[in-house]
Amino acid sequence: MALPLEKYLRVGKLPHIWCPGCGHGIVTQAIIRAIDETGLDTEETVIVSGIGCSSRAPGYMNFDTLHTTHGRAIPFATGIKMANPELNVIVITGDGDAAAIGGNHLIHAARRNIGLTVVCFNNNIYGMTSGQYSPLTPRGSYASTAPYGMFERPFDLCELVKGAGGSFIARSTAYHTRHLTNMIKEALKYEGFSFVDALSQCPTYYGRRNRLRTPLDMLNWLRDRAVPASSWDKMTPEEKDGKFPIGILVNQPSTELTKVYGEVMVKAAAEGGRG
């Protein structure tokens, strides 16, 4: 039952750089557990990230790992998957990385249905750069660049990916560790593009500034806002306010991009193509 940590972690690199009580370690563990339970071969699994506290996770994970530029993990991963479709390609990203600077890549990967599993460590703040607001910061929250409270409207990340055509979309939180692990497992099993919005906590920069003084306060805050997807649709707009659904939100199988491209290659070799 306990995870074989040495198999999945570069234990020599631990302890990690994350702050005490940071949710990113919890989500990382859920990924590893999901990999373990799914039985993915560590030698055929690649982990790719962008830049951010979250994006430091691959450095601790015992796989082929790639820590890229801010926001660009998905197109790097796209190149890997195109080059070698046999590989399991997992992308670890943050809410800033995935939804601010990297938003375009996220929606295009969802559109293309390229076989990546993207897990967004969503702590609704820029942790690495010390607490600026992100496109996921709830309205009214304080951040170092929102000293008068967040005045922009945030995304609903799962709705965004859905609008882009995403075929597998799930959400969970660092509070719901077992559920989170299961969501990631389902995402790993899905052949096309799968997206998991993993709500995480940044006690250092989000919590401190928003009267959530301890990591536990933050996890309870996540718990209190999460509603099972099955109940969500029955709720009134007022009931939904400030809350979010967790669970599998979209699951519509569709042929994965490299599979489709395989057909292009067959056609090309045969007929030549019509320029």
Binding site: I17, W18, C19
Partner: protein, 178 residues
């Protein structure tokens, strides 16, 4: 005259704030020049923390501290790392709440239970201000009242009283241990 100070400990102990206040007191309330700098980086996240101040009556061209005249340390790790770099004959102020192992060095060592004192005053979080009072008291580099003004100007609203107590406790302690 150019005197170099280094304040070192763990992230969260507020030593950067203390260093800024020290530099501000010198800059805003004396004729001296002052600069302040610190180490940044993910390592300052939960890990160690280091802040430097230079106070001088001349232009401060090169603003880096290499061998501080005065070192304040609030963790054992900080002591081990920075004590050897102190200018021979300099001063090391040690928070013996956390620094237990103090092998001999060519410096004047002053010990005080800074963090314990802060806790006693109400919240350990003001240990940085106790330390500042101590440092100012010990070195006399800037006037105590001016420093207190700077303290009050830079701490969060509502905590002025506690911080004032903390500062004065540090100053008092300096008198006792010098």
């Amino acid at each position: 005259m150019r005197r170099e100070f280094r304040l070192a400990g763990a992230g969260g102990q507020g030593l950067i704030t203390a260093a800024i206040i020290l530099a501000a007191a010198a800059a805003e309330h004396t004729e001296y020049n002052a600069v302040q700098s610190q180490s940044y980086g993910p390592e300052s996240r939960g890990g160690s923390s280091k802040a430097d101040v230079i106070i001088a009556d001349e232009e401060i061209d090169y603003p880096e501290v290499k061998n501080p005249d005065v070192l304040l340390v609030m963790t054992q790790e900080a002591f081990d790392k920075f004590a050897p770099g102190v200018r021979p004959g300099g001063t090391i102020i040690v928070d013996d709440t956390y620094v237990k192992d103090v092998p001999p060095v060519d410096a004047n060592i002053m010990r005080y239970s800074i963090s314990a004192k802060a806790k006693e005053l109400g919240r350990e979080i003001v240990a940085n201000i106790v330390a500042l009072g101590l440092l100012v008291g010990v070195t006399g580099i800037v006037p105590e009242d001016a420093t207190l003004q700077s303290v009050l100007a830079r701490v969060p609203k509502g905590t002025e009283e506690l911080n004032e107590k903390a500062f004065l406790a540090g100053v008092q302690a300096a008198k006792e241990i010098v």
